[in-house]
C-alpha cells in the first residue's frame, strides 16, 4: 500500500509538471509574453525586445517553461499588468469565494444524487425511476448557462424570490455564507449539472451492487430490507462514487467560469473570464495551472481513497 501511494504520488507530480509545461506552451502559442500589457499595444519594438530580455521572454521555450515551473512551485505566478497586482494576490483574493461556491455545489449535488440514484435502482423501471432519469438526462444535455437563464427567468424575474445577479456587496466568503439568498441560484445551477452526471452513475452502481451475492445472502439470512439497503447496499454502491468525485473537478472548474460569469459572482471563474477579454496571460496561465493541479490532486486522492476503502483491491 505504501509503495502504491508513493508510486502514485510520483506519477502525479510528473503529470502536474507536464500540465504546467503544456499550459505554458499553449499560452505561448496563443500570445505569450505579457509585454504589450506592460508597455502598451503600440510599444517601440526596441523597448519590447529589451523588456522581453529583462524578463526572460527571449529565452528558448524550454528554458521559459523551466523558469515558470520553478517559480510556480514557489507560488510565484508573475504579475498581472492589466490589473496592476501580482497574480498570487488576485488568486488569493478570489479563491475563497470560488471554493465556497464549488464546495457548496458539490456537497449539495452529493446530498441529492446519492439517495436519488439508490432510490432509482431500488425502484427500477417504475414511473418515478423513468421520471428521474428523464430529468437528469435533460440536465446532463443542457449547457450550464441555459439552465441558469431558466432559473433566473423563473425564480428571479417572475417570482422575485432570488436576485438575478449576486449583489456587489457580497465580497467575502462570510458575506456569501450569511446572505444565502444571494448565492442560491449560482449554487443550484452548478449543483444541478453535477447531479445529472452523478445520479446516472450512482443508479448503475447501485444496480450492480443489488445483483451481487452478498445482497442475496443478507436477504436470505432474514435481515430487514432497511438493514440490507442501509448496511450492505449503500456502502458498496458508494465506493465507485469516490472516483467520480475526483473526476468531477474539471467539470466544476469549467462550470465555475460559466456560473460566475452568468451571475456576476467575483471568483476565480470571473477572474479568468475577464482575463480572457483583456488577454491577461499571467492570470490565464496561473488559473489553468491551478485547475490542472487540482484535477491531478483530485484523481490522486480518489485513487488512494478507493484503494484504502475497498479491501478487494490488492496492490502489488
Amino acid at each position: 500500500m505504501t509503495g502504491y501511494i508513493i508510486r502514485r504520488c510520483v506519477a502525479a507530480v510528473i503529470i502536474a509538471i507536464g500540465v504546467a509545461a503544456v499550459s505554458y506552451a499553449l499560452l505561448n502559442f496563443a500570445g505569450g509574453s505579457p509585454v504589450y500589457a506592460a508597455l502598451g499595444t503600440h510599444a517601440n519594438p526596441k523597448a519590447v525586445a529589451q523588456w522581453n530580455r529583462v524578463h526572460g521572454f527571449d529565452k528558448p521555450l524550454i528554458v521559459q517553461i523551466g523558469n515558470y515551473v520553478w517559480n510556480a512551485v514557489q507560488l510565484k505566478f508573475g504579475y498581472s499588468y492589466k490589473q496592476g497586482q501580482s497574480v498570487a494576490a488576485l488568486l488569493d483574493e478570489n479563491a475563497g469565494r470560488t471554493a465556497y461556491l464549488s464546495g457548496s455545489a458539490l456537497v449539495l449535488a452529493l446530498i441529492i444524487a446519492l439517495p436519488l440514484g439508490i432510490a432509482q435502482a431500488v425502484k427500477r423501471n417504475s414511473v418515478s425511476d423513468y421520471a428521474a432519469t428523464a430529468i437528469t438526462f435533460t440536465l446532463y444535455s443542457m449547457p450550464a448557462f441555459f439552465l441558469g437563464l431558466i432559473l433566473i427567468q423563473f425564480f428571479a424575474l417572475d417570482l422575485h424570490i432570488f436576485p438575478p445577479l449576486v449583489s456587489s456587496n457580497v465580497t467575502s466568503v462570510w458575506a456569501s455564507f450569511t446572505h444565502p439568498a444571494q448565492l442560491t441560484l449560482p449554487i443550484v445551477t452548478l449543483a444541478a449539472l453535477t447531479v445529472a452526471g452523478f445520479s446516472r452513475y450512482m443508479r448503475s452502481s447501485a444496480l450492480d451492487a443489488l445483483a451481487q451475492d452478498y445482497i442475496r445472502l443478507a436477504r436470505a439470512k432474514g435481515l430487514s430490507e432497511r438493514v440490507v439497503l442501509a448496511r450492505h447496499l449503500v456502502r458498496n454502491a458508494c465506493l465507485p462514487m469516490i472516483t467520480l468525485v475526483g473526476l468531477a473537478i474539471p467539470g466544476l472548474l469549467a462550470g465555475n467560469i460559466i456560473t460566475e460569469t452568468l451571475y456576476n459572482y467575483p471568483g476565480l471563474g470571473l477572474l479568468f473570464y475577464n482575463a480572457l477579454q483583456g488577454l491577461d496571460y499571467p492570470v490565464l496561465l496561473a488559473y489553468t495551472l491551478i485547475g490542472g493541479v487540482l484535477t491531478v490532486t483530485g484523481n490522486l486522492v480518489a485513487d488512494i481513497a478507493v484503494a484504502a476503502a475497498d479491501p478487494r483491491i490488492r496492490l502489488g
Binding site: 449547457p143 427567468q153 469549467a254
Partner: protein
Amino acid sequence: MEGVPPFGSPNIPTTAPEGGEVALITSGWRLAAHEFFSNRLAVVGLGIIVFFIVFCFLGPIVYPTNQTLTQPLLSDMAPAAAHLLGTDDNGFDEFGRIMVGGQTALEIGFFAAFMATVIGTLYGALAGLVGGIVDAVLMRFVDILLSIPLLFIVLILATRYHATLISQSLIIGLFSWQAPSRLVRGEVLTLRVRDFVTAARIMGGTRRRLILRHLIPNALSVVIVNITFLIADSILLIAYLGFLGFGLAYPTASWGDMLGNAQDAVSSGYWWLVYPVGACLVLVVMACNLVGDALRDAFDVRLRKR
C-alpha cells in the same frame, strides 16, 4: 459514464437460452443494428437528429429569410405571422436564424468529433500495438492533456484565432481525442490476446489481415459509440464559446452565439430569442447522448437479449 444501464429498457438479464435451441448465425453488426432499432429511445434520438439535419439544411429552402442584411427597424419584434419566432436585435428572422445557426452547430460538432476520433484511434492503436516505453510516454501525455479542463484550452486558443467554422472545429477536434485514444488502446490491448485473434494467427493470418479483419472491426464499436458523445460534447462546447463571447463572426452564427446575448434578452422579456434556440440545442445534444447510450448497449454482448 461507463456501465450505465440502458435508458428505459429492462436491467435484469433475460433468461438463458433453453437447451437445444440454436440461434441463427448472423453478423455482429446486424445483431447490433437489430438491438439498436428495438430500443425505442434510440429510435427517437435518431429521429430527432435526422429531423434537425433536414430542418436546418433544407428548411431555408421552404422558409427563406434574410440572414445577411441587418434591419434595425425590424429588431426585437415579438412572434407574429410574418416572423414565426419574431426577430433578433439585428432584425434577423429568429426562426430562419435557428436553421442557419443549426447548420453551423451541427457542422462544427460533426467535424470536430470526426477529427478527434481519427486522431484518437490512430494514437491509441499506435500506443497499444507498439507497447513498452512508447506506450507509457504516449499515455502519460494523454494523462497530462486530460488534467487540463478542455474548456480552458479551447478558450485560451479562442483568444488567438478569429472564430470561423474551421478554426472552432480544429480547436475542439485537436484537443478532444484523449478519450477515444484511451478507449482504442484498451481495446487493442485486450483484443491482442483474445482467442479468436490467436486462432487467426495460428491459421496463418498475416499481420495486415489481423489488423484489418480482426482488430479494427472489433475496436470500431467503442469508437462509434464514443463519436456520438463527442458530437454532443462539441456542440455544448461551442455553445459555451458563444456564450462567453468567442462565437463566430457576423453574419454567421451558431446556436451558442445566438445565446450569447441571452442574458439581456431574458431581462428584456424577449423570450423568443432564448427558449426556442436553447430547446433545439438541448434536444440535439440529448438525442446524441440517447443514440450513444443505445449504441453502447447494442454493441455490448453481455447485455444483449438472445
